[in-house]
Amino acid sequence: MNLHRFANPARFMRLSSALLPWCGAGAAALIGIGLYLALFIAPPDYQQGEAVRIMFVHVPAAWMASLVYALMALASAIALIWRHPLADIAALSAAPLGAGFTLLCLVTGSLWGERMWGTWWVWDARLTSVLVLFFLYLGYLALVNAFDEPGRGARAGAILALVGIVNLPIIKFSVDWWNTLHQPASVFRLGGPTIDASMLWPLAIMVLGFMLFFATLLLVRMRTTLIEAKIRVLLLSEIERHAAASPRQAVAS
């Protein structure tokens, strides 16, 4: 397969403009339905009562936090190995979204934990590794923007994103490897989910909604970056045209 067939920014602009309305409408519909099911239809938990409704925003945010990082690392690998021109843009566009999901996961988890465990925060393996994930996102963003030359920043960021991927299995298996206050997996586990279908369905719909929301904003942000690149090219060519028309003035300024 020729990857560079998809590397053409003009092709990406066409493809993304066709996809955007569908992704956006799908995200709005799924999150709308998901919120309705989560708040009105899903039953209260037999132990946690109504507080379990926090799950329907906490779990999708937590999964997206890891998923977006995995995608960012994949895009970084493609950027480093094949120099695919859209890969760096994809990774950089995904990072703030991933940071947002991680922040959401941390704060909603804190609210849930205060009620169920009696503490806002503990330094157990799951909570700490997710906090590390949040700092990885912030570090990536700071690093990419720290260089005057965008290419070097993107390269340094890509390496950081790849090194940081070691944190993902730690997050996933932290609840099995260590004694954590956080509960073990109840959806993706051997032997099937342990949560009831009446809660699993609203959760699945919210997760799909969050995924489409991410896809929509990823496309919008990538399009923005490509348009900004085009603006830079146009401005540069304008400056060159002015310089060619009046060379003495250009030297003086």
């Binding site: 708040l39 942000r221 348009i227």
Partner: protein
């Protein structure tokens, strides 16, 4: 009716935890949406101006 609404809002005594969680979700997702769309529109307007009103 208003009793049902009050019961719903009370969230079985967990209102102070459930509603901030949903409120923050709305703020974070809404904030990302607004920020992304605003910079998208700004870049499109700039490009259109540079191209003299032609389609980007």
């Amino acid at each position: 009716m208003s009793e049902a609404i009050a019961r719903f809002l009370a969230m079985g005594g967990y209102a102070a935890y459930v509603w901030p969680a949903y409120g923050l979700t709305l703020c974070v997702l809404g904030g990302l949406l607004w920020w992304s769309l605003a910079s998208y529109r700004r870049s499109r307007r700039t490009l259109e101006r540079l191209q003299g009103g032609r389609e980007p």
